[in-house]
Amino acid sequence: MDQLIIELKQKIIETLNLIDITLEDMDQDAQLIGGDLGLDSIDVLELVMMLEKEYGVEIDNKELGVKVFASVTSLAEYVFNNGLSGETRAKTV
């Protein structure tokens, strides 16, 4: 799980071009959208696309999106439980 959190942070930084942010700057439990990082609804859509491409996770409604994108931790949990890689990971744990 810790590895997945680091991986997701890297992918968020890369996908959203947050080049002035380091992994340490991102608190995994802090509010992800509308928080200090200045992320908004377009960033959510960009992340939805990335998650589907990289992890096979589909997030196609707002209600689910609000839950999943609450923090990096909640995002990691969702990917872990629902993603293709998540399944693979679950089997190997």
Partner: protein, 732 residues
């Protein structure tokens, strides 16, 4: 002095519910719904998303679809006349992208195949077909483009300089819009249901509507309707989402009503923008509620549930619907509306309705990305009390230049002038450090090259005055728009077998995205117009500024910029393809009314679509000289001439220049500025800023064996030759 009114004397329309006025009105009366799963090109969705497509026009791989649709509507609009219009103004966002996508997918490298890629090529194609040699303008303000084009045409006619204008909007289905809106989760998989409680988004569509507009003191016999007024505004709030209370939409409606000289209680019908997205319909409903206050809201409807969101054509097609309401007593139904949304402060009419009393005036709403809003007022040709706009023979209107900035391969204006003083070119691509002077990485993280350049130029041009006298309106000329975003969007799409894209790149790929960022930065709520007319995009922006903000008291920005993209620029721009040095850059002018004291002033004197007919050169040059006030004025007023001839048009451009020199006998220095700037569409924006700098310094940098460097209190003329003949004057 006389008073002019503007009438629609004929119109043409093609859309998913029919071709021509007859078929369209028949469909409207029957509430025909034409939203079906996409079949024009193979899509990765199973089943394909529902769209509004024109099945009668087959998908072609040799001609862009937008051009075909625009031509079909234009032919209808011109069917009763063989006289060429004096000007053509077309709103489009997709241009030739439908064909470009096919070519890029097949990795075609032949530049000639991309000749109709640009947004500007649609209006040029139409101009060639109808034989127009006057101003040809292309407006790309996303989904408000069609109505914005009509507002510009209205002002051209009111100015008294032209009598007949062919204007409207056109856009075709393409992968960019089909996948782009889906990536934003703005597409309703059940088809658009505007204003319905269960609405989930839009259906992407295609179409074209064109109008022949005529200026006259009294209604001509063939007048169908009167175009009474138009209002433009910008939300200056978000690149893709509307202002939550609909403030920008309200402002555009209020301006349109004021421009028409009517009051809200006289409006009998509103054709709504009504895309079917949760946010658009809510904010539009709120704006309309605020517009009417305690008054009842008149019958209103959106037809996007019948034929989808036809992008740049949507406003123009909605204007046709408004005309049906005013002249035929048919108010279209809001197809797709079954369960009215109690959260909305208005309920559109769900079925076609005959109004209780004749509709005297109707509104046509169109809103788009970049927070662009354009609203028109349509009236019955003889039921209106309109007395027209006074046209008087006044001297040409100039803008005062309050600030300026430019960027080129050498860097900013200071570096550029230093190079010119050494008679060295400054071609090349703008060093990225020029952008970081004005934009932090965080601020610019979603901006790619063109937007970074445009916003940097705008901030630099305003300088310290930004704090006290911020620009209210923004005019932006770009030949090619955000090429980085267009490229990255399509690359990601094709690499993933059309499964993945970037929503951010989609928003950034819209030609007016950069101008939207400028508006957000300056909170500029006035007109926000992007023109995309190839090598004279900047001149088109300056002309639009003159037409739309020339009588305002507020300061404004006119910017021109283009980026060099290593893959797309050499494919799209034939002048770039044959040039050795990849180059880009742009210029920005911060302007005020002529009465504001400043060191110099600027105006566009000529913007003629010349085509490439060599036989016609004497006529075209004669017109240019006339527009500049004659040979004597040219010799007296201008200390030097900056001439821009795009490399691809070198031969004809040189002949045009020779003809001009022979006609005017101009005795002083001619500077061939593209030899300094390098080849890019908005090089003339750099030339304009150079001219400002020369006039301020009262000298031309560098030494020349034959000509003195001082301007001696004279101005600088900037001429453009090639497929357009343009002139801008900068005078002290």
């Amino acid at each position: 002095m006389h008073r002019l009114r503007v009438f629609i004397t004929s119109m043409g329309i093609i859309g998913p519910v029919g071709q021509g006025i007859g078929e369209t009105i028949d469909s409207v009366q029957k509430s025909t719904a034409a939203i079906k799963p996409l079949h024009l090109f193979p899509a990765s969705h199973i089943p394909p998303l529902p769209v509004g497509q024109i099945t009668a026009v087959p998908w072609a791989t040799d001609m862009p679809r937008t051009h075909t649709l625009a031509l079909m509507a234009s032919r209808d609009a011109m069917k009763d006349t063989c006289e060429a219009p004096d000007a053509v103004v077309i709103g489009t966002t997709t241009g030739g992208i439908s064909l470009t996508e096919e070519l890029l997918k097949s990795q075609i490298q032949d530049v000639r195949r991309y000749a109709l890629h640009s947004a500007g090529s649609v209006a040029e194609y139409i101009a060639r077909h109808v034989g127009c040699n006057g101003p040809v303008l292309t407006v790309s303000t996303a989904c408000s483009s069609g109505n914005t084009a009509l507002k510009i045409a209205l002002e051209m006619l009111r100015s008294g300089k032209v009598n007949r204008v062919l204007a409207g909007g056109a856009d075709s289905l393409c992968r960019l819009t089909y996948y782009g809106f889906d990536s934003l989760q703005l597409v309703d998989v059940k088809g658009a249901r505007p204003f319905d409680f269960n609405r989930r988004g839009m259906s992407v569509g295609e179409g074209a509507a064109m109008f022949l507009l005529t200026a006259a003191e009294t209604p001509p016999e063939n007048a169908i309707a009167e175009l009474l007024g138009g209002g433009l505004s910008c939300d200056a709030y978000h690149p893709a989402a509307p202002h939550p209370q609909g403030d920008g939409a309200l402002c555009a409606m209020q301006k349109a009503i004021a421009d028409a000289g009517i009051s809200p209680d006289e409006i009998g019908y509103i054709h709504l923008h009504g895309t079917g997205t949760v946010d658009n319909d809510l904010t539009e409903a709120r704006a309309i509620r605020s517009l009417f206050g305690d008054l009842p809201v008149p019958p209103c409807s959106s037809t996007k549930g019948a034929y989808g969101h036809t992008m740049a054509a949507s406003g123009a097609m909605g204007t046709v619907m408004s005309i049906f309401g005013v002249t035929r007593g048919i108010l279209p139904g809001n197809t797709g509306l079954h369960d009215p949304d109690p959260a909305l402060p208005l309920t559109p009419i769900s079925v076609p309705t005959q109004p209780e009393a004749p509709v005297r005036f109707a509104l046509s709403n169109a809103f788009g990305f970049g927070g662009n809003n354009a609203v028109l007022v349509i009236g019955h040709p003889t039921r209106s009390k309109n007395t027209g706009t006074t046209v008087a023979a006044t001297p040409p209107v100039f803008f005062s230049v309050l600030g300026s900035a430019c960027l080129g391969g050498a860097g900013d204006i200071k570096c550029i002038i230093e190079r010119m003083a050494q008679d060295e070119p400054f071609a090349g691509t703008v060093p990225p450090a020029e952008f970081t002077r004005y934009l932090s990485e965080r601020h610019a993280r979603r901006m790619k090259r063109l937007t970074r350049m445009t916003l940097s130029l705008a901030i630099a041009a305003c300088g310290e005055k930004e704090a006290t006298d911020s620009p209210v309106s923004v005019f932006f000329g770009t030949g090619w728009g955000g090429l980085s975003e267009t490229h990255d969007f399509l690359e990601k799409l094709f690499e993933s077998d059309e499964r993945f894209t970037s929503p951010t790149d989609f928003i950034g790929s819209v030609h007016n995205a950069s101008a939207g960022h400028v508006a957000i930065h300056f909170k500029a709520g006035g007109p926000n117009v992007t023109t995309t007319g190839g090598n004279c995009s900047f001149e088109q922006a300056l002309m639009s500024a003159d037409l739309l903000a020339g009588r305002d008291r507020d300061p404004l920005l006119v910017v021109g910029a283009d980026e060099y993209h290593p893959t797309l620029s050499p494919l799209f721009d034939p002048s770039v393809a044959i040039s050795e040095t990849p180059s880009d850059g742009g210029g920005a002018l911060y302007l005020g009314p002529e009465t504001t004291p400043s060191a110099c002033r600027i105006r566009t004197a000529c913007l003629d679509y010349a085509g490439t007919d060599e036989q016609d050169i004497p006529n075209r040059i004669g017109h240019l000289v006339e527009q500049l006030g004659g040979v004597q004025r040219i010799r007296d007023q201008f200390g030097t001439i900056l001439v821009g001839i795009p490399a691809f048009h070198r031969d004809i451009g040189q002949r045009q220049l020779d003809a001009f020199l022979s006609a005017s006998g101009y005795p002083r220095r001619i500077i061939d500025y593209r030899r300094y700037t390098g080849e890019f569409a908005s090089a003339s924006a750099v030339a304009a800023v150079l001219a400002v700098s020369f006039v301020k310094a009262d000298e031309v940098p560098g030494t020349h064996p034959r000509y003195p460097t001082p301007l001696g209190g004279c101005g600088v003329l900037i001429l453009g030759f090639g497929d357009y003949i343009t002139a801008m004057e900068v005078l002290p």
